[in-house]
């Protein structure tokens, strides 16, 4: 009997890194990677800071699917949509055909959250969640001037900095009273806000966009606080939602993400999940470093050597050149308080438990140099 393949659903960083790590350990077992899109390899984090570097969608594509297939000795199936999983029979429905697996890895990623907007321009609001989105965005933004960004989180701030640096006029709207809401104490948020405002970004905080309507070649936005804005293009960056529907419909346990243990295993023995779609021991961490850690643990597990994932402290760099920023947010619900030391050239914010243990930090400007020293003091996450 021939060996059934390890099937990886998803060709983002998570899917391809698992394939690569697996191949280092096992050169024989067939590997199939199913991709909803073209299956080419690119860097998702660069999508929100590629503009100032004048990178086209084509130049961001590092390797096409065929190259990945030969590099990984794997079968890559582009434009393949999985419509159902049958865990009992270990089968997938892919583009209407049945595919048998020995082990299944779900690296499905996340969808962008869309605000419930009214108005005839709501459907024209763009979001950039993959390379094809980036291509559409680049085409749409060409020759335009005024960009409205919905969301002042990490991606919204990175886009704002990237676009303002490329000569655009940028307005940013967020319901939160501050930038990077969940990652920063208010003093740090005020600092990065001043830096971005210094570049020309205009923020509308503590309010939300209710309506986007067409106004000639432009769009008119109505905000909940009564303000209105005119923009040539509206970009939504209000957050990500793990893709769980496929798993849930197969009886795989989901919560915020696909629920997995430290082996990245779902409630079915041979089905695993990692990356932006996964909730590992209660944590959804849509960043690169957790993906690398997860992929390196999952590969030996797939070969039969159960290896729990370990998460060290994993600071995240916010790619806003106007204000260098590195954050390692404390766990939601962590007991303690922020202590913020600010100067003209940076802000050093540290979150300590009352017993003195450092639990998180947010470093800006010159304070970024403290990153390594402080990271060593942080407890491991898992």
């Amino acid at each position: 009997m021939s060996t059934q393949p390890v099937v990886i659903v998803g060709s983002g960083l998570a899917g391809y890194t698992v394939a690569r790590e697996f191949r280092k350990l096992d050169t024989q077992t067939p590997v199939v990677v199913l991709s909803r899109d073209h299956g080419g390899f690119y860097s998702k984090p660069m999508l929100s800071n590629a503009f100032a570097q004048k990178k086209s969608a084509d130049s961001l594509l590092m390797k096409e699917a065929a190259t990945m297939a030969s590099d990984l000795n794997a079968e890559i199936r582009p434009h393949s949509t999985v419509t159902a999983i049958n865990p009992q029979l270990k089968q997938l429905s892919v583009n209407g055909e049945v595919l048998q697996y020995s082990k299944l890895v779900l690296a499905l990623g996340a969808d962008t959250i869309r605000l419930p907007l009214q108005g005839d321009g709501a459907d024209d609001v763009l979001s950039v969640n993959d390379l094809d989105d980036y291509r559409r965005f680049r085409e749409a933004v060409d020759g335009k001037k005024d960009i409205a960004i919905l969301g002042a989180g990490l991606i919204g701030c990175e886009f704002a900095n990237d676009l303002i640096g490329s000569g655009y006029q940028v307005d940013v709207v967020d319901l939160a009273p501050q930038l990077l809401g969940r990652l920063l104490p208010p003093e740090s948020a005020a600092y990065i806000q001043r830096k971005l405002e210094g570049e020309g970004v205009v923020f509308h905080l503590g309010t939300t966009t209710q309506l986007v309507e067409k106004a000639g070649a432009q769009y008119k936005l109505k905000l909940a606080n009564g303000e209105s804005l005119v923009a040539d293009l509206v970009l939504s960056a209000v957050g990500l939602k793990p893709r769980t529907a496929l798993a849930a419909s197969a009886g795989i346990k989901t919560n915020r993400g696909i629920v997995v243990n430290t082996l990245l295993q779902t409630n079915f023995e041979d089905i695993y999940a990692l990356g932006d779609c996964a909730e590992v021991e209660g944590r959804v961490l849509p960043f690169v470093m957790p993906i690398m850690q997860a992929a390196r643990a999952l590969a030996p597990t797939l070969t039969g050597h159960a290896t729990p994932v370990k998460y060290p402290a994993m600071p995240v760099a916010v790619k806003t050149p106007a204000c260098l920023t590195v954050v390692s947010p404390p766990d939601a619900g962590a007991q303690g308080e922020w202590k913020v030391e600010g100067g003209v050239d940076g802000v050093n914010a540290q979150f300590h438990h009352k017993n003195g243990q450092l639990l998180g930090f947010a470093l800006m400007g010159a304070a970024v140099g403290e990153k390594s020293k402080l990271t060593q003091q942080l407890p491991a996450i898992l």
Binding site: L13, T17, R20, S43, P45, M46, N49, M62, V288, M289, M292, Q293, M314, A317, K319, K371, S372
Partner: protein, 54 residues
């Protein structure tokens, strides 16, 4: 001295500056950075993703 950029997260490795916090002395050429060094921002290992010259 050249400047390199991580393909995954766009971290800049400047040969002139090195990465002293992780044991890479200033002036270390990219080719001399050990294969087990990983990008301090995203954790991608040198062995897995080569950097591009910028």
């Amino acid at each position: 001295m050249k400047v390199w950029q991580c393909l995954v997260c766009s971290f800049i490795y400047d040969e002139a500056k090195g990465d002293p916090e992780h044991g890479i002395k200033p002036g270390t050429k990219w080719e001399d950075v050990p294969m087990d060094w990983s990008c301090p921002d995203c954790g991608v290992a040198k062995a897995d993703f080569d950097m591009v010259e910028v």
